[in-house]
Amino acid sequence: MENYANNYVVVAIFIALGILLPVVALTVGRLLRPNKPTNPKQTTYESGNEPVGEGQVRFNIRYYLFALMFVIFDVETVFLYPWAVAYNKLGLFVLVEMFVFAAMLLVGLLYAWKKKVLKWNSV
């Protein structure tokens, strides 16, 4: 059990190092780099032209639909992982059960397919 907790100490050390490197590197960088902000430098970049309109423009609604699809199938993977780990200890029944579950989600995918959600047209 002691062993088990120690592994998470290692994970915590890695995450701490992951936070530390950007902090240290950017702090050291601050001491080294010049800082002479001028107005043109701080304008939004638009290939050299004066920026037109707002930066946060409206974007295609399609991204939202993909996000919805992602949520559905990501939840499926959450169920698939423990199922796969325990599969050898379980019987044929769980295979059928998981098949029914996946089939129901596949019906959803086919519906989205039919509704042309997966077709990318640039509007």
């Binding site: 002691e2 062993n3 088990y4 907790a5 120690n6 592994n7 998470y8 100490v9 290692v10 994970v11 050390i13 890695f14 190092l17 992951g18 936070i19 490197l21 950007p22 902090v23 590197a25 950017l26 050291v28 960088g29 080294l32 780099r33 010049p34 800082n35 902000p37 430098k41 701080q42 939004t44 970049y45 638009e46 290939s47 930066g55 946060q56 423009v57 974007f59 399609r62 993909f66 996000a67 992602f70 990501d74 499926e76 993977t77 698939l80 992982y81 796969a84 325990a86 599969y87 044929l92 295979l95 998981m98 098949f99 996946a102 596949l106 989205a112 397919w113 997966l118 990318w120 047209n121």
Partner: protein, 337 residues
Amino acid sequence: MPPWLNEPLTWGGALVLFLWAVVFLFIVLGFVTYAIYFERKVIGWMQLRVGPNRVGPFGLFQTVADIFKLLVKEDTIPRKADRLLFILAPALAYIPAFSVLAVLPYTQNLYFADLNVGLLYYVALSGISTLAIVLGGWASNNKYALLGGMRSAAQMISYEVPLVISVVGVILLSGSLNLRDIVAAQDGGWFWNWNFLPQIIGFVVFIIAAVSELNRTPFDLPEAESELVAGYHVEYSGFRFAFFMLSEYVYVYAIAALTTVLFLGGWHAPAPFLDFVPGIVWFLLKFAVIVFFLFWIRATFPRIRVDQLMGLGWKVLLPVSLLNVFLTAVYLELFIK
């Protein structure tokens, strides 16, 4: 590092672990430095150019010079940008990229953390990077950055689903999420015991989805220079930009190591009579082959169109990866049990 892991942890032990992790961090940074050099050289040769050859012998210090240049470059934050999120995004991209490396085993005795949910930890943390890219694109308050960030998010979530489903077959075969157990399950002496042959469908889906998750050619639409300037990091300069690039290459390291562990038998030798070669050599060889493969396809394939990208992810890879899961399960049911 096993000896410390089996004892109750003291502050001294934790310090030693921390120092090992720092050493490892520098190894990874060294890998990134020379992976970039190697990539430029290899692609140069493939395109009948010389590649970097000015800074140091054979241009070996080219990337080092590039990093120092980025470090002393002025850091501009656009006036219209959301300062806090703009500063947060590069760090958020890097933290999960480095954290996932904690669970990767290199040999039987050389590993950092031996989690029984190792694979789940990997896929869960690597998903966070998508957030950083959307955040960077949004906080820049720039049209190109926003569109690049959105594209990138759509691409990454579309390919994350086949990626995580394609490894379910491997979990089924080994009955564990622990990466060391997964390697141990591939120990048959010969290379056909490795997962890439029994799981050939899963392997192909995994490689395609992994290249897409890395945002590399032919799936580098988020950074399509010719249409989106540079995508989500167009407003970033200096070391903040470097952190986006760094996390991309750290993911190259992570994916190459993960592919080796999951599909190529980790540290096992391809044939029993080659067992005298240490496991770490086999691991590094397989690792290097995958890294080279990633550079090779970058030099070979043109970028695909965004409509082809989404179609491939949802209409081909997702059904195929699900099919693979059930084929594996039925096979286990019929022949193994």
